[in-house]
Amino acid sequence: MTALTMSKALTAGLRSAMTRDDRVVVMGEDIGKLGGVFRITDGLLGEFGPQRVIDTPLAESGIVGTAVGLAYRGFRPVVEIQFDGFVYPAFDQIVCQVAKLHYRTRGQVKMPITIRIPWAGGVGAAEHHSESPEAYFVHTAGLRVVAVSNPKDAYTVLQQAIACDDPVVFFEPKRLYHHRFDGAEGDIDLSADISDAPPMGLARVVREGTDVTLVTYGAQVLTALDAATAAEDDGVSIEVIDLRSLSPVDYRTVAASVRKTGRVVVTHEAGGEAGVGAEVIASITEQCFHYLEAPPLRVTGHDIPYPPAKLEKHHIPDLDRILDAVDRVLDRPNSLSEVTL
């Protein structure tokens, strides 16, 4: 077992995938000598050489578009988008080509492309460097979308994504890259066979509880756990679910929890409007309506462009905002007690 940060776990995951399958190539801006601006590809150029670790020209549509060509040729490209906010120039190639080619060719052409995206805010970054674009990809049929929240998942799920014959958009929460995880989540068995790991599509009950189901993913998992701890002092038992797979969502796990608790809060950093939280609530309401004792609530970023760094703490849902919603689903006094909705 090796204790690794998420950043190092991702590097290790890439290394394993590249060692196991020589059709895996990684490509992106500054991923060679520099090892990427977050150093996730650190050392790979030296180990695997420039044929497999490709510093590309500065053009995201070009990166994803050439990855499509490489996939046509039977490679498994792992694309690094430098920051979340720079994926949009590649949107056409992702939506019209990467997502659709398998369907368009009736399964004759596979697109085993993994698109890694350092993701979301909370790190005091400049404009366009803290975006949460996951809902765009969740809404795009033909893509799988995952988001990791700890080193162990990062290591395992990244390899699963690369091994998957479908395209996967892989979100890496920037603010957890160097977070210190004590315990099992930060302890990785680099010799373990990933085929023994649970399949990529499964959600995880991170903490059991009985009163409220708190659904989240990415860096918000830690905030949700903090909220659960705080609520415990207050006599409220929160079950925290890390979705891990945002598309498809593992509704079996989520629904089982909701049937138990009857109350749901979903939290994420992206804006709420037509976001992942809306999807989860709509589906859960359909599937568990008669178990619900209160309206499922969202605690999300505001529906605004990502704010300047000094204001981001008012945007990313924190423990207090989550607990306020928990109070609301429990019908306890809360911020909106006096507001007509």
Binding site: P57, G69, V109
Partner: protein, 374 residues
């Protein structure tokens, strides 16, 4: 250092400066560069080329007819562009991989597409018809310019596999305005990837004359990216073949990408939905009719004594047979059952699609067999 403009404005019916080996009357003329690449094109090769082009034209007419008869939803005519399509594809090796647009009918024909492959897509039965790996041709692209990047990426893959194959990207004059085509040139040049860009400048992007995209010859753009290019008479099959052989050699021998602008003309409407009388003169079309690639090659073959009635009859019969196959494929097409809309979204099991399939199957089972197969 100052870079000025040495090339001239391209406009209207003027083809501007182009490299050419056949006059509109089919007379062989010299070209210092192309002659090198045309030297060993023998008569048999030229007859094959003529055959490809004639079959393409016949098929194209069938496609238009089938659309008019309601058998197809749409058709994008290739008439007038047969020379560059057939000649460039014939110049390729079988293991070269081609990335066409929707209009490269002649490329599909040369590559051995079957009649059904040409109708089931436009009929709306399926998106992609043939197996790309069977023909070494990618599923034709509708998103303008996107395939230029795919070809470039494929060529990067060839480099990694260490083979001497070439990838070919086909696109139109309009496509050269898209970021993707320009990014493809950047990537291809940066990596020295073995890709050939074939731009069929048919003077029009739907209703927009090429001058909306560029007042200057398109071929002049490639060298700025570090890609040598040639501007060829796209209605001169021999020149097209020679230019493609030059370009393929450049790419195959490790000297990186090459670019061809084939100056041609879209004789028909953009698609069967289009009405070109709204935006262009009949005179322009008539002028180009005089530059027809088939009559030109036929005249040349006649000069060579390599075109007779027997050949003409054989070619016509082959075209008719293929066209009959298309009609047959259209008339006997069976639309897939409703539930299959959910097939092939993913390559591996997917709980979301599974759930939708289960529900949709339950829904469909509420109808009697006939209804469900509507």
């Amino acid at each position: 250092m100052m870079y000025t403009l040495t090339t001239q404005t391209a406009h209207g019916a003027d083809t501007g400066e182009v490299s050419r080996l056949l006059t509109p009357d089919g007379e062989r003329v010299a070209d210092p560069v192309l002659d090198l690449w045309a030297a060993d094109l023998d008569v048999q090769t030229l007859r094959t080329l003529y055959r490809d082009m004639a079959i393409t034209r016949r098929i194209d007419a069938e496609g238009v007819a089938l659309q008019r008869q309601g058998q197809l939803g749409l058709w994008a005519p290739a008439q007038g562009q047969e020379a560059i399509q057939a000649a460039s594809a014939r110049a390729c090796r079988d293991d070269d991989f081609l990335f066409p647009s929707y209009r490269e009918l002649g490329v599909l024909v040369v590559r051995g597409a079957r009649p059904a492959d040409l109708v089931l897509g436009w009929r709306g039965e399926v998106h992609g018809t043939f197996d790309p790996y069977a023909l070494n041709v990618a599923t034709p692209q509708i998103i303008i310019g996107a395939q230029a990047l795919h070809a470039t990426g494929y060529a990067m893959g060839i480099q990694r596999d260490g083979t001497d194959q070439v990838a070919v990207a086909y696109f139109g004059d309009g496509a050269t305005s898209q970021g993707d085509v320009n990014e493809a040139m950047v990537f291809a040049s940066s990596f020295g990837a073995p890709v050939v860009f074939v731009c069929s400048n048919n003077q029009w992007a739907i209703s927009e004359p090429v001058t909306v995209q560029s007042h200057f010859p398109i071929a002049g753009r490639a060298p700025g990216f570090g890609i040598p290019s040639i501007r060829v008479d796209g209605n001169d099959a021999i020149a097209c073949a020679a230019a493609m052989r030059w370009a393929l050699d450049q790419a195959r021998s490790g000297r990186g990408p090459a670019f061809i602008e084939a100056v041609t003309y879209r004789m028909g409407p953009h698609t069967t939905s289009d009405d070109p009388t709204r935006y262009r003169d009949k005179d322009e079309v008539e002028l180009w009719r005089g530059r027809d690639p088939l009559t030109r090659l036929e005249a040349h073959l006649r000069h060579l004594g390599a075109f007779d009635d027997a050949f003409a009859t054989e070619v016509a019969a082959a075209g008719d047979a293929f066209a009959a196959g298309m009609r047959e494929a259209a008339l006997t097409a069976r639309t897939r059952p409703a539930i299959e809309v959910l097939d092939d979204v993913y390559a591996e099991p997917h709980s979301g699609i599974d759930r939708q399939r289960e529900r949709f199957a339950a829904y469909l089972s509420g109808f009697d067999g006939e209804e469900a197969a509507r």
